[in-house]
Symmetry: C2
Subunit: 160 residues, 2 copies
């Protein structure tokens, strides 16, 4: 028996994103198409550099500046969000309806992964809005620490 009743598929996401883009007068170009597909497929947020690498690997010939401007536009219409982990470059992720992610990042090697926890912060947003007068409030929750691999590496060094 195949799974047929899954309502949220990558194609749904793509349609949603393209809709939003059209509403905001973005043209449906080669780069936009590729970028949306790539970001829908990616579980993790990605840096500009990572996106460029993937573009090359995936046979999309695209200038870094173009990728940058495209991402900026998507951020401008609220379809992409910039994430600041503790690294040199920013990460970008597609904002999909009903999706919220929290992250676990290694202080040592910088690896980023999505973690599946019950995020207890949503309730606090109302409180924040009230206290601060901010609008459009959202939050970001990250856990940091040393990943098993880096723990191993540390041990190896210590053993010398």
């Amino acid at each position: 028996v195949t799974e047929t009743c899954k309502s949220i598929t990558p194609e749904n996401h793509l349609a949603h994103c393209l809709d939003r883009c059209r509403q905001n007068n973005l043209r449906r170009t080669r780069v936009l198409n590729w970028l949306l597909r790539e970001m829908i497929a990616a579980i993790n947020p990605l840096t500009l550099t990572q996106l460029q690498e993937r573009a090359e690997a995936g046979g999309l010939d695209c200038d870094p500046a173009t990728l940058y401007r495209q991402i900026m536009k998507l951020e401008g219409i609220g379809l992409v969000r910039r994430l600041g982990f503790h690294q040199r470059s920013n990460y970008f992720k597609l904002l999909l309806p009903g999706q919220h992610q929290d992250y676990l990042i290694c202080d040592q090697c910088g690896a980023v992964q999505v973690i599946d926890i019950e995020c207890p912060v949503h309730d606090l947003e109302d409180e924040v809005v009230e206290k601060s007068g901010f609008t459009g409030v959202h939050h970001e929750l990250e856990f940091f620490g040393v990943c098993p691999d880096c723990q191993q590496a540390e041990k190896s060094i210590a053993a010398r």
Copy 2:
């Protein structure tokens, strides 16, 4: 009647920090002294650039690279933590015992402020440790939105 029974003063903090530095063989230099005092006095996390500006304004003649290396050392001994907001440069804050801060940041102008909320995330750290095998786990919680000033500015533009 003056307040005399406050147990945690800037001076306490300074002593604590200097202790930690000495334990880690950092020398007590002009720059270190200034940096610790400045970061204890600052409520908000600061970028390297902000620190440089403050140094100049405060009459400390110090090379950017020196400030950078000093901060890196403090981060190395776990006395300073790097924070990634959504801006180009990183922020740094002194880690003081028993202190945890959450932040509210304007998506538009980038202003950072500390918010006073009951942070409900500490309990989750155990869960994260269990699930991930990470060690030394800590977390960072940030709220983002548009600050009252920037809302005002948006209105002004719209009114034209």
